[in-house]
């Protein structure tokens, strides 16, 4: 398509902006590589595409299922000299190597102009800001360690109120077991085991231990009694899953809650998508617990867009426009409402979001409860090694002291 035609289309489709306009942004073509491929995710990424189009840009979609695949495609395109305009990564250390190799364009101009330092949570700033420059535009915040409960199953088991402590959770699980239901619906894949571990570490170990283990990788903390107790609680939960758990997709575990066959699941806030698909409503059919106690940490994980290096002026304009559009309040709410996440900024109108999301946004306002996911503190290799140890501990009978030693060794370098 000629530039003229591009512009004609862009003008025809343009709607008055409520976002600070960048001069000559019309027709800015942006190819975005991402892994938002399912129905709900597609609706979410459409909000980004629509917002970008409204701002005068042209969204070229390159969707590749599964994060690892999508990121590897993005990296290979950069290496092959044919980079996309933007690529989805996680809020993590995944793109640090790209920064180190000088393969990303910083977006300092947008970050400084829009005042990212003012409204972004510190955890996210630390992830997107490398050596003083901003290399990624945060898109959303997911919380991986929500505790979901099935109202129907709880009713059948005679559990009156939602558990407010870990002990009450175990009591509820026992009641579910006695009622002949599956206490804990779990999909035995290593990343899901990791989620259960994260939930236990935050709720039983607490913020300080969490940071000492995952951020500081302090060997003393890992070998401590407190951490041992976390691991033992983690393993204890395994006793409440059903036999068919290994390898199960997380959706099938949520389906067990939806059908009232199981009572509890540890899963991220994206689970709301499955509930919604089955016409279940938060508060009425299922409950969502962010954590136990008023100080329970809220785990932050999420998606960002990075911008492969280019000196093409048109592309740079597109990148800046993307970064602006994606972080704008209206886009943030629209995207998160469809995605099941919460916006990266709390200065938004969250009244139309579901009660779980509103709960999350309220918690996020308390800075002392913000905590990053493992992948924010550990590099992919360390995170993977930890994951291997945890999933083996979950599935096999290994003495907890050995697990502690292995974790200390894996996180040492």
């Amino acid at each position: 398509m000629s530039l003229k035609k591009l512009c004609a289309v862009a003008i025809a489709a343009a709607i008055p902006l409520s976002i600070p306009a960048i001069a000559n942004a019309q027709g800015a073509k942006a190819e975005v590589i991402h892994w938002w491929t399912s129905g709900g995710e597609s609706a979410a990424v459409k909000t980004l595409a629509d917002a970008y189009r409204s701002a005068g840009g042209i969204w070229v979609d390159t969707a590749v299922a599964l994060g690892e695949q999508a990121r590897s495609v993005a990296i290979n395109r950069i290496v092959g000299g044919n980079p996309s305009t933007a690529a989805q990564f996680n809020t993590s250390k995944q793109f640090l190597d790209l920064v180190e190799q000088g393969m990303l364009n910083p977006i300092d101009e947008v970050a400084l102009r829009d005042g990212w330092d003012k409204f972004l949570p510190e955890t996210i700033i630390n992830a997107v800001k490398v050596k003083g420059h901003y290399y990624a535009a945060p898109v959303n915040i997911h919380m991986p360690a929500w505790i979901w409960t099935s109202k129907a199953a709880f009713k059948q088991a005679g559990i009156a109120a939602e558990p407010r402590t870990m002990d009450e959770l175990f009591a509820a699980l026992d009641k579910l077991k006695a009622a002949g239901l599956v206490p804990l619906a779990h999909g035995g894949q290593s990343w899901q085991d990791n989620i259960v571990f994260t939930a236990v570490l935050t709720n039983v170990g607490g913020r300080d231990l969490y940071l000492k283990v995952l951020r500081d990788r302090d060997a003393k903390a890992i070998q401590s009694e407190a951490f041992k107790s976390v691991l033992l609680t983690f393993k204890r939960l395994q006793g409440y899953v059903d036999k068919g758990s290994p390898g199960r997709n997380w959706n099938d575990a949520t389906a067990m809650l939806i059908a009232g066959k199981a009572g509890v699941q540890f899963m991220g806030d994206w689970a709301k998508g499955e509930f919604a698909l089955a016409h279940k409503e938060a508060g009425r059919d299922y409950g969502c617990i962010a954590g136990f106690g008023p100080a329970a940490p809220y785990i932050i994980q999420g998606d960002v867009l990075v911008f492969p290096k280019t000196s093409n002026a048109e592309q740079i304009k597109a990148q800046k426009l993307l970064a602006t559009v994606v972080t704008a309040p209206a886009t943030q709410v629209a995207f998160s409402a469809k995605k099941g996440s919460i916006p990266i900024r709390t200065d938004v109108d969250s009244s139309k979001m579901d009660i779980c999301a509103q709960q999350g946004i309220a918690i996020m306002k308390d800075k002392t409860r913000q905590l990053g996911n493992g992948e924010i503190y550990l590099n992919p290799d360390q995170n993977g090694a930890l994951s291997d140890i945890l999933t083996n501990y979950w599935n096999r009978n290994i003495p907890v002291e050995k697990v502690q030693r292995d974790i200390a060794a894996a996180l040492r370098n």
């Binding site: 590897s72 190597d97 894949q189 068919g244 290994p246 992919p380 290799d381």
Partner: protein, 311 residues
């Protein structure tokens, strides 16, 4: 007759000596694509992998040199050791089962049965399907809660238990089952063709001699299918070493890491864990193991059959 032919041949050869020089280059020219592919694509990338495995590269290759540190880390890694063990078990079982099942299917289909075309398609269709979905179906079927076990119990066989897929020591067998389901159709087709190439007269002769059929197959037919078997063996072996899709689709390497295989270990570290040095070390070790196993076979075959081509 032989002598005349030989004389003719030598006369013809000497007559063409003048153009031989020009013609001698033709085979080499024709093999240029192959040479390029081997040198650049295969040898080149292997050398590159070797170089990277001696560094501390993460997402991108870097130029340092850490000696054999990655290899050391590799062999201190429980998951890698388990993956190698799984590969050995998987390899032996898969190749054996595919050969036996494929051969049996071919033999039985060759008995002039009705509906041969339909049967052939039934046995071949798994090969046409993407393992991403079929692997999931197998996972469902073998799942203790919802799959085959439940179905059999509901039908009345109360004590039927088949929980291999959740057992640490047995899960790799379930991957074998699904993989055999997928590949034996191809083996069957190749074997069937080999069988069809055997002269009718041989069958007639054995019938006259009164040799029992099974004996015919074992002592006469199988030796005649030596080349088919060799080709099938090579094809299956490449599949074994690279096995990845079936494991990912069925068990994701689990429960835990119980059904991990080297290719999955390598892939995880190549992309997800951004550690291409460790992944490269793994692939070099895998290649060395293949060379160690295959090279003796190739040399032996070269010696006995005179080069595999013509003597």
């Amino acid at each position: 007759m032989q002598l005349l032919c030989a004389i003719e041949r030598s006369r013809a050869v000497s007559a063409t000596t003048s153009v031989t020089a020009r013609r001698r280059n033709a085979p080499w020219a024709a093999l240029v694509p192959m040479a390029l592919t081997v040198l650049v694509a295969y040898l080149g990338t292997t050398l590159w992998s070797l170089r990277v495995s001696l560094t501390s590269s993460r997402t991108f290759p870097n130029d340092d040199f850490v000696g054999l540190a990655q290899y050391q880390r590799l062999f201190e890694n429980e998951r890698w050791i388990l993956a190698l063990q799984n590969l050995a078990v998987y390899g032996v079982l898969f190749i054996l089962a595919c050969m036996v099942v494929g051969f049996l299917l071919a033999v039985f289909i060759d008995q002039k049965v009705r509906g041969e075309g339909a049967l052939r398609t039934i046995f071949l269709y798994p090969y046409a399907m993407s393992f991403v979905a079929t692997g999931l179906v197998w996972q469902w079927v073998l799942n203790p809660g919802d799959g085959m076990q439940r179905a059999f119990r509901q039908m009345g066989w109360e004590s039927f238990t088949f929980e291999w897929i959740i057992e640490q020591d047995r899960v790799i067998y379930t991957v074998v089952i699904a993989a055999v389901w997928q590949a034996s159709g191809l083996v069957m087709a190749l074997m069937l063709a080999g069988l069809r190439g055997i002269d009718e007269d041989i069958w007639k002769a054995t019938r006259i001699d009164g040799i029992p059929p099974w004996r015919v197959y074992v002592s006469i037919v199988l030796p005649m299918l030596k080349s088919t078997v060799a080709t099938v063996f090579v094809l299956l072996s490449t599949g074994v070493v690279k096995v990845f899709d079936s494991v990912v689709a069925m068990t994701q390497g689990g429960p835990g890491t119980a059904s991990d295989v080297p290719a999955k270990f390598i892939m995880d570290h190549l992309f997800g864990r951004a550690n291409i040095a460790l992944a490269s070390a793994g692939s070099i070790v895998l290649l060395l193991m293949v060379i160690a196993l295959v090279l003796p076979l190739m040399i032996a075959r070269n010696k006995t059959s005179g080069g595999g081509g013509h003597a």
